[in-house]
Each structure stands twice: as C-alpha cells, then as structure tokens.
C-alpha cells in the first residue's frame, strides 16, 4: 500500500503521544524536556506532510521557524535547569514542589 498523507499523520500522532507519555511518566526535568522536543518534532512531521500533499511550501517555512524557535527555547530552558540545579542540587520534579527557592 502506497504511503499517503494519512500514514504520515498517523506516525506524527503516535510520536506526539509518545512525547506526552514521556512528559507524564518520567520525573527527571531533562528527560521531560527531551520528550517536549519529541512532541515538537511530531508537529513538524505533520506540517511537512501537509505541505507535500497540499502542493504548498508555506508549511515547510513554518517548520523552519519552529526549528529555530525550538533551538532558542532549548538554550533558555537548559540554562534555567542549570540555575535551578545550582540552587537546589536536584533536577527531579518531585523535589521541586515549593514555589520559593
């Protein structure tokens, strides 16, 4: 069976669900962050598939922007995690239950 748009969207949906599972089940801030990246990538895959099968390149430009914003987001997020680790000596979400540092 020739793969079409629904096949790519199914892969994207499953990958997004996997990322969500990681965010819910894993308790380490860094692994949760990687799962977020997985979800962003799933959205990228859906956009590229739509772009290919709808004869419209705007979707790919969108993915380009998403990759750039994700890179900036990763840099800021990891800096926050490092700053938090310096204060509290942990990156485990269950140890970070209080609002005050």
């Amino acid at each position: 069976m020739q793969p079409g748009l629904p096949h790519y969207l199914a892969v994207s949906a499953l990958l997004f669900s996997l990322g969500l599972l990681g965010v819910i089940a894993r308790r380490s801030l860094l692994v949760m962050y990687m799962s977020l990246e997985l979800m962003l990538n799933a959205a990228n895959l859906a956009l590229v598939a739509f772009s290919r099968f709808n004869q419209n390149l705007n979707g790919q430009v969108m993915v380009f922007f998403i990759i750039t914003v994700a890179a900036a987001e990763v840099a800021v997020g990891l800096a926050l995690i490092v700053a938090l680790f310096r204060k509290r000596q942990t990156s485990h979400v269950e140890d970070l239950a209080s609002l005050k540092l």
Partner: protein, 170 residues
C-alpha cells in the same frame, strides 16, 4: 510489487517510533544519556522521513540543528549536572498508569479522526518539491519580516541565557 520508497517509508516510520519509545520509556535503562542518544536516533530517522517527503533542505537542517547543536547542548548539561540519582529513583506507579491511560486515549482519538477523515487531495496532482531554491524564495519574499524577528528572538535568547548562567542571580 512495492516500490523502494514505500518500503523506506515503513522502515523509517518504524524506526522513528521504536527509537522514540526507547527514548521516553526505555525498559532497560533510565539513564538520561541513553534517552538523549535514542532521541538523536529518532531525529535522524525523522530526517529520513523528510527526505521521502522531498523536503531535502529541512532534512539537512533537522540533522544539523537538532542532532548536532541541540543534542550536544543536552548532553553537555546532563554531564554537567551529574544525574546519578535519577537511575535509583522508583517511578510513581499511579502516575505511570494514569498517564498511559490518558496517552492511549489521546492516540485513539487522533487515529480515529484520521481513519474517519475523507481524503480531499486529488490522486493525480503533482506534489511540490522542497528544494532550497524554492524555500529560500518564499522565506525571503513572503516571510521576510518573521525571519528578521526570529534573528532578534535568537539575540534575546542569547542575552537571557548569559544572564541566567551568571553565578549570582540578582
């Protein structure tokens, strides 16, 4: 007789999902470094899917930016923090169980919507090519302002990160 590209799609899709699963829920190891390595493999298989979708430029960017820059940053931070303790922790069984139910529900809803959707794309039309030339033309004509705003965003992120990593936050 299936074509090579069709087989490649199934191979890359299977690899992407397998590596993605091993990244978030590896039954053998809960070391963050293992997760990061499987995330690199997921991203590379996904670049293969991008090539199959004729998005060649994005496939290259995916490998350069994600597998190159972002994952190096992740590994750097993991090794900086020395997360030995993460492996000894027990997972919260209630959270994992309820989370799996929620995730299966979401996947079910998405896949059911996909199955019920009627395809609107005519079969005979010629799909677009995501060449660097075409993409660059669109990027620097229709999307010039967002492109410039992105450069400012990167500058802001850079300044913010430098400020955050200073020894004393005031």
């Amino acid at each position: 007789m299936p074509q090579l590209t069709d087989l490649l799609f199934y191979a890359f899709a299977g690899l992407t999902l397998l590596f993605g699963f091993l990244c978030v829920a590896n039954p053998l190891s809960r070391n963050p470094v293992t997760s990061a390595m499987f995330l690199v493999l997921t991203i590379i298989s996904m670049a293969g899917l991008f090539v199959l979708l004729h998005a060649f430029f994005l496939a290259a960017v995916q490998i350069l930016v994600y597998a190159g820059a972002v994952m190096v940053l992740f590994l750097f931070v993991i090794m900086l923090l020395d997360l030995k303790e993460e492996e000894r922790r027990k997972l919260n069984a209630i959270a994992v169980g309820l989370g799996s139910v929620a995730v299966l529900g979401l996947a079910g809803v998405l896949l059911r919507a996909l199955i019920q959707a009627k395809p609107v794309i005519a079969a005979g039309t010629q799909p677009v090519e995501g060449s660097t030339k075409e993409l660059g033309r669109i990027l620097f004509q229709s999307y010039l302002l967002p492109f410039e705003i992105l450069s400012i965003l990167l500058l802001v992120a850079m300044v913010g990160v430098i400020l955050l990593s200073k020894k004393e936050l005031k």
